[in-house]
Amino acid sequence: MSTPVTESAPLPARPLPRHKRSTKVRRQRVRAAWIFLAPMLVVLVLVAGWPLLRTFYFSFTDASLSDLSDTLFIGLENYLIYEDGRWYGVLADPIWWRAVWNTVYFSVVSVSLEVVFGIIVALVLNAEFKGRTLVRAAVLIPWAIPTIVSAQMWAWMLNDQFGIINHLLMMLGIIGEPIAWTADASYSMWAVIMVDVWKTTPFVALLVLAALQMLPKDCYEAAEVDGIHPVRVFFRVTLPLITPALMVAVIFRLLDALRVFDVIYVLTSNSTSTMSMSIYARQQLVEFQDVGYGSAASTLLFLIIALATIAYLYLGRKQLKLGGD
């Protein structure tokens, strides 16, 4: 799912002017602030903090789904262990590494495509033309459709026997015989990527559009007077100016893509050719009932995403600084 959390930190809280800020009122306000925060913090600890710690803990045990209370601490066995001349554990499982590769491949390709298409759609929506509101509403439709539903809709359109996409492609003479888009390992990843790009390009487009609408008009007028080609203006003026907004859109999409589950689950089920890290972890946890092993995979997924975030923020900051020089 794509929880559209909005980005940049809200500016610091507005303090009251100094002369009005008596310490008593201030202290009362700070106390009230913590009381108001308490329920939210309690809920977040209950649904996020505590479960996350328990997942870390389970990853070092042999817990099974049927009985979570009776567990044995087994150290790093779920991750990696050498026994009888062979390596076992998540880190020694080729299917896990396949899932890591699939997820990374999926994330990089689909987010790149979304950024390119998102910019194109945003540029179109930023132009003034009749019916712009209608087009914007149309573009929002894929975003509003539940991921499960869009996956089912595409699964039907991509159906090998009765799907309209095979039908059209055969009519146009592009393919000779029907393709099993979701079942054939060489196409299924592309089918998944296509559905994801269709569904989330609107989100990227909206963020880019918001950035475009805040650009100063005067440099465009100057460029027009000087007769500079619009494509050149785009790469020299527009793109650098919307880069911060793009970076925000990219990190949110990337974090979302790295935890992908629904699209793949519906389109291709547990097939290893498209299995993502989330699918792998859930399969171990729920279907194989192996909470310890599944938790180890979840923990690794968490670490990978945390590392990706840190690396991205670090690189992004560096790049922004370079751009600013």
Partner: protein, 280 residues
Amino acid sequence: MTSRQLSKHATRIGFWVLVALIVVIAVFPFYYAVKTSFTPSSELFRVELWPSRLDVSNYVQIFSQRSFLQAIFNSILVATSVVFIALLLGITASYALGRVRFRGRSTVLLVILGVSMFPQVAVLSGLFEVIRTLNLYNNPGGLILSYTIFTLPFTVWVLTTFMRQLPMELEEAAIMDGATPWVIITKVFLPLMWPAMATTGLLAFIAAWNEFLFALTFTLTDSQRTVPVAIALLSGGSAYELPWGPIMAASVVVTVPLVILVIIFQRRIVSGLTAGAVKG
């Protein structure tokens, strides 16, 4: 002169072709789902762009299934409860984060941002244990609880941004009159925050309505499922013949309200999605 006019026309035509392409790509899959839902199962093997006639048998079939009606009811129950809880906790928290300056404020904001980003699978086993301990497994209550993990951070974040933008004179007068923070929230800010709350509430509703991983994992029986799970698990007599007609009918039923909401509130949604995004 003429070549210039020609290129101008070409650009115009190219632009409209692009617009048409975008609209077709965005709308066609949904249109095709609607079309399929009105096609009787016996005619699905014929690929057609237009329905030859409107046949409602697929709709009759899904609405005669008790479990589907139950799933719709569960989804509405879960999504509205989640929105209510997220807004209630979010408005007070956003007041504290947006209007009061105190130590640890930026840490709290960072934690909230962190929670909204981490993968749901990472909490799956821990949350499963919490839900089972609270006796909420296979119960809408478990879903309501678990959905706050993604609706609450988002709600707090957006409401804080909105709260920040309100002028401080509002509050000063109330403080001078000796109003307590609770009175300030309910009497001063709440009336002004309705538009922002409607926006975030709508976005939280859509997110909760669409959620799949938790709904799939924390429910067991048909009577407790939500709509996305019901649709994903809809299958026919045999594993190879998926009932595409009823699947599309069910998809249309759960999507049409969302599409209508989005079209009515598109301005609001766009502002909610991008609030703060480009001001940093």
